[in-house]
Symmetry: C2
DNA sequence: GTAGAAAGCGAACGATCGTGCTATGAAAGG
DNA sequence: CCTTTCATAGCACGATCGTTCGCTTTCTAC
């Protein structure tokens, strides 16, 4: 009978197996973000954790199952580090801005060793059919939809001009986030985040209704209608 | 003496070795764009070309050398398919727009099987120090600089407002290109290109001087100050 | 035509890949 | 305490990785 272990699970107390499984995934997610989900190797992962290959393997049964679990773990981390903090802000344009801010922050904090996990794995698996690809695509879609959703809500609140195409806005905001991650990781240059934030504010300002423009203006330095020159801080 | 083969080389006629080497790289570049530069395997590449592993290997001497050659070949293709066509346009904003157009076009034409080669390999190698990474970073930088350069030239021509931060503009245009590639490959949805082009035009329109605005307006459908709703064509 | 260089092939190397099978230790239930 | 279950370890497998070496074929220079 497994009644006790079931109860423990419900109480949040993890069984021994679930605990090491989580430790495995914790390490795996960082390796995968740097080396890729394919470059993540069972032997290498076992070494890093001082475990036997077979003992680790038994937790998943196949490499694909491990990859799926890793993606799931990465999603949990993304939710904890980005989604939840952003969702503390009030709904509407403020939350949309918070979502972008938290996202850029999470990239800059190197939450994953090798940059945003989902961007890396999306590109790695985009031409490799299978469950892993589908899962990644679904999660990417969710985040994109969340951005668009919040933009639409901002419209119903009268904070965003109703003529704005929210799908287009979400696409462009998402593009700025992606570019920041790419630029930061390939050039090791934190200016990427300044530029991304500048772009985000510009996009939002462009569609904001006049009364909201003032409140947004208070949060940041003023900016003329054309893109402002940012002083080069010369960060490597 | 190798005088004759030297002369042949100068005449553009390739030696036998150089010819097969080129065929190898041609195939390698497509595999690498889909499977990654690490997923590109010498045995698999040899199979695809009906060659022996060792015969193929002899052309490069090491896998890293092969990877470097593949990146070089990808650069040649990028120059032929994107840079040269765009550089036929007159300098200034027109050429800047052409650069973005050719770039998006090249992604949509699936010039590389697995999407834009450089985006994939940049993300794959961004946390993997070595010559390959450095080469990719350098080429990425060049393209970004080319965009900024053209924007600056547009300023000297009086086509672009001098207050525009050209680095910021290049960053945002580049972001739209990257996002289009990402979106198209992960969602198999060509609407990515419409959205990217909409964004590009919006960015350029935002910084263009009044007299140029008219000529740009002739090239495309008119568009109010806020982002216009694009009808969903429901592709795939 | 013949010598020598260049190009390509086949077999094999040690390492590492994912994946089984079996044994052993720890924990849990009765 | 005994038994059953679960977590982990050890070992070995076939496949494939990058790489080496020696041999054969093909081309080129004189």
């Amino acid at each position: 009978m497994k009644a006790v272990s079931e109860i423990r699970k419900q109480q949040g107390r993890e069984s021994r197996g679930a605990k090491t499984r989580d430790e495995i995934l914790q390490a795996a997610v960082h390796i995968a973000s740097a080396e890729g989900l394919q470059g993540l190797t069972i032997g290498g992962l076992a070494d890093e954790l001082n475990m036997s290959k077979s003992g680790l393997f038994a937790h998943f049964g196949s490499k694909e199952e491990l990859q799926l679990a890793v993606v799931g773990k990465a999603r949990d981390i993304f939710v904890r580090e980005v989604v939840e903090p952003a969702y503390k802000s009030e709904r509407g344009l403020v939350r949309l801005l918070a979502m972008m801010d938290c996202w850029l922050d999470y990239v800059g904090r190197n939450v994953f060793r090798g940059g945003c996990f989902f961007m890396a794995s999306a590109i790695e698996f985009d031409s490799r059919p299978g469950q892993v690809r589908d899962l990644i695509a679904g999660l990417s879609r969710s985040w994109l939809d969340a951005l668009e959703n919040e933009a639409r809500h901002a419209q119903t609140l009268g904070q965003l001009d109703k003529r704005v195409d929210t799908a287009q806005l979400a696409f462009e905001l998402h593009a700025l986030g992606h570019e920041a991650n790419w630029y930061y990781n390939i050039f090791q240059d934190k200016r990427a985040f300044d530029q991304a934030r500048t772009g985000v504010l510009d996009r939002l300002r462009q569609g904001a209704t006049p009364n909201l423009l003032r409140s947004l203006g208070e949060r940041t330095a003023s900016r003329q209608t054309t893109t402002r020159k940012t002083k080069r801080k010369g960060q490597r």
